[in-house]
């Protein structure tokens, strides 16, 4: 079947989508390698998180057909290696990135939080990351990086 949606702001139309496929499978099949985490398939690890109309959801649990006509954003929304988003820079500065596998998902959840609430407190930050499992770090450096962003004046992100 055909799927039309906006991917990182660009109108996208794919012809070869199967009705039983989830969004993660479809995205990776179309070389969106930036969406990680092809293994838990239960939405429990958070690595494959994307923004669906601005809301972070695990793409492995979203039937692809559900995104017809909607906005899907991946980590490409934030920046590329030569033009990092300040949030991405903060993650690096705070040592929040080790193997990096969970990081695109975490960044998207953190970004969605900061868009809604530019000055979240620590509890809100911890909440926002709690759907993302990470085994390399202790979450603390990500929390500190987001706290640094939360201290910035409005609009600076």
């Amino acid at each position: 079947m055909q799927l039309s949606f906006k991917l990182n702001g660009s109108a996208t139309q794919w012809e070869d989508v199967y009705p039983g496929e989830n969004l993660l499978e479809v995205l990776r099949r179309h070389d969106c390698w930036e969406v990680k985490g092809n293994n838990c398939t239960n939405g429990e690890c958070g690595a494959c998180t994307i923004l669906l109309d601005g809301i972070p959801v695990p793409s492995c649990t979203v039937f692809a057909a559900r995104v017809e006509g909607r906005n899907v954003d991946t980590i490409r929304l934030l920046g590329d290696p030569d033009h990092l988003h300040p949030l991405q820079q903060a993650f690096l500065r705070h040592g929040a990135v080790q193997c990096g596998y969970c990081i695109p998902g975490m960044l998207l959840s953190a970004h969605a939080l900061l868009v809604r609430n530019p000055h979240p407190n620590r509890d809100e930050i911890q909440q926002s990351l709690s759907g993302h499992l990470c085994r390399c770090t202790g979450y603390l450096q990500q929390i500190e990086a987001i706290e640094e962003m939360a201290r910035l004046p409005e609009g600076a992100e």
Partner: protein
Amino acid sequence: MQPNITDYLQPKSLPEAIALMATYSGRAALVGGGLDLSWRPRQEIQILIGLDRIPLSYIEWRPEGLVIGAGTTLRELADSNGGSYLNGLFGRILDRIATPLLRGMITVGGALARAYPWSDLLPIFLGCQAHITLFDGQDHTIPLESFYQGSFRQLLKRSIIRELCLPTHHQSIAAYQRFGRLQIDIPLLNQFSRLTLVEEQIEKASLWLGARPGFPVRLSEVEAVLLGKPLNQVTIGAAVSVLSPSLVGADFRLSKEYRHNLATVFLRRNLTEIWSQHATII
């Protein structure tokens, strides 16, 4: 990828969806959030009927109470003023369910239809005497308790949940306790208590024990002890003492003995919490 699925249909109205369910009876499944089906693919399902295009996502305060469309996600619910239900307790409970990511996927209708043995929501909905509205060509509104007393899975083969109404209970105070192995976990036992006190006497009591594991059970014997009594240490002690160990079971997660202990502790703490809240109101 679920290879047995051959079509994903997107009806625009409930009558259209009901017609599709009839046409593909036995091999179609409804997709609200779709989480259950991606967790537990079912071989017999060939047709998916997506509900995204039917306006089922809404939260409204009506005179009869808080009305929640079946397509509303827990995240939408928590972000809305619906969280203020039960003096904000409802919002705090929503914040503990699954993970923020999954709360963006779980719909109220899905939670009602699946009725997982580890539901956070069912003891609360049942304890608040919620009403469910089902559409099978026309709307039927029935108490949630009677919905589950019937063969609701059969009923859901020919009807769709439209909405849930949580009635406003003036003067009632509620409390909720759950056990999880870490902060993020399914509840391995939960207890919801709601009391209405009139002139220092317990006039109404609605107490539920959930995730026993299994479908929530109403603690009628405990309610009987409470009704008509003043809420105090003695009453609470008497209430807790009639809690039967047979209400809980064992699985590899927790033993029966430990679950019973949790039930006892949670019931006592919830009643004590209500008592102290009542004291501050006065």
